[in-house]
């Protein structure tokens, strides 16, 4: 039986297939059971190797390379896999995408049909130009709900997200992105702009182009001049000269 002390080292030596160290060589010379166990292990590994080699180096079928070459002739080098080019391969993906788009669109439509107070306020904030063109009443207290909504959102989220409450796609008004700290200032500006715009709009409506008439300027009235005769003034002057002399 193999000596317990050298068993592990001898088996590893056989598996590694290297020359034994002097100590192991001395042990193999001294102990016949160790030597026979070592030889048995080596023969086992040799039979493993030969078995692996015989199965791994099988004869190549004569038709293998010609078949592959023939198939290569039919294929294009950079052609994608056949199933990718097949339209039926993409059909489920396209159908799924269409369903998802439809669901999102219907949800978006439902949300837009019932806008909340906060959403309408936010829409006014997002585009002062658009807000100015709307026919909202020019109440001076308009900024109060806006700032309240903004402050509420600042408290809850901290950041304004314009894409959550988008302006309708049909609107041509531009969206404006502002830093969170300038949001209230922008709301005030939007309100001032709206009031100013509406006052100017009323001025414009009073002077409608079809109501204009030719300008009527009253005739100039010049008061009659009071002309005194010159003779009196000349006599007065001569009398003054005589007095001085």
């Amino acid at each position: 039986m193999i000596c317990h002390h050298y068993k592990h080292a001898l088996l590893e030596l056989a598996a590694a297939g290297v020359e034994p160290s002097p100590e192991l060589r001395a042990q193999l010379q001294a102990c016949s059971s160790c030597r026979s166990a070592f030889e048995h292990e080596r023969s086992l590994l040799a039979s493993i190797d030969s078995c692996l080699r015989s199965s791994a180096n099988a004869e190549i079928p004569s038709a293998f390379i010609p078949t592959v070459r023939a198939q290569l002739q039919r294929e294009s080098p950079a052609a994608p896999a056949a199933h990718i080019t097949n339209p039926l391969f993409w059909l489920p993906a396209i159908a799924a995408a269409a369903i998802i788009l439809f669901i999102f669109a219907s949800q978006d439509h439902g949300v837009k049909s019932q806008p909340t107070a906060e959403q309408s306020a936010t829409q006014r904030i997002e585009s002062p130009v658009a807000a100015a063109t709307t026919a909202a009443s020019p109440s001076p207290a308009t900024t109060a709900p806006i700032t309240a909504a903004i402050e509420k959102r600042h408290a809850s989220k901290g950041v304004i997200r314009p894409d959550k409450n988008p302006v309708p796609a049909s609107s041509s008004a531009p969206e404006i992105l502002v830093p969170p700290d300038q949001e209230i200032l922008l709301a005030r500006y939007a309100d001032q702009f709206r009031r100013h715009h509406q006052s100017s709009a009323t001025l414009l409506t009073e002077v409608a182009p079809d109501q204009t008439a030719p300008l009527q300027v009253p005739l100039i009235q010049i008061a009659e001049l009071d002309v005194k005769p010159l003779a009196d003034t000349q006599q007065d002057g001569q009398q003054d000269d005589l007095r001085e002399k």
Partner: protein, 188 residues
Amino acid sequence: MQELVLIQPGRTAETDLQSGATEAALRREFEERLAECGPLAFRVARSVLRNTADAEDVAQDAILRAYHRFDKLRDRGRFKAWLVRITFRLALDRAKSSNRRQHRETLWSHPERQPALPTAEDLAVANQFRSRLDHAVDKLPEKQRLVLLLSAIEGHTLEEVAALLNIPIGTVKSRLFFARKQLAEKLR
């Protein structure tokens, strides 16, 4: 409905000719490499599957895949290693799926029986040692198994295996050592 046609404004007959020439050059280069690496791909597949027909299928599939992606291979010198890896991976997949299929068919046809005994033909072809060895090789980790197979195929040296797999020779030695050790333990 108005019909729309997809066109590429920059595409001309000249560019078509150029792409055709490039394609032909690519095919020529690939076929040169195929003569060198095709047998190796077959042998890798055969070592894993132990079936000539399956190995042919898998090797052919691997070569075609390599062909379709050949233009994307930056270092053409690594083609052999690349093909070996593709083949090995496909062969493992095929072996797993065929094992599952065999298991399913066995359960379906003989639900209460143990796995079928080897047929007379099997016994004539393979002895008990070989079947045990095959079973033990199948249980090896994939990395060790690939090194073991490549070192057995076509008499590759350790340096050649290291170059083929692009790993240090020390790694090849250690993987081969652990693989042989595990096989010996199972067959002892």
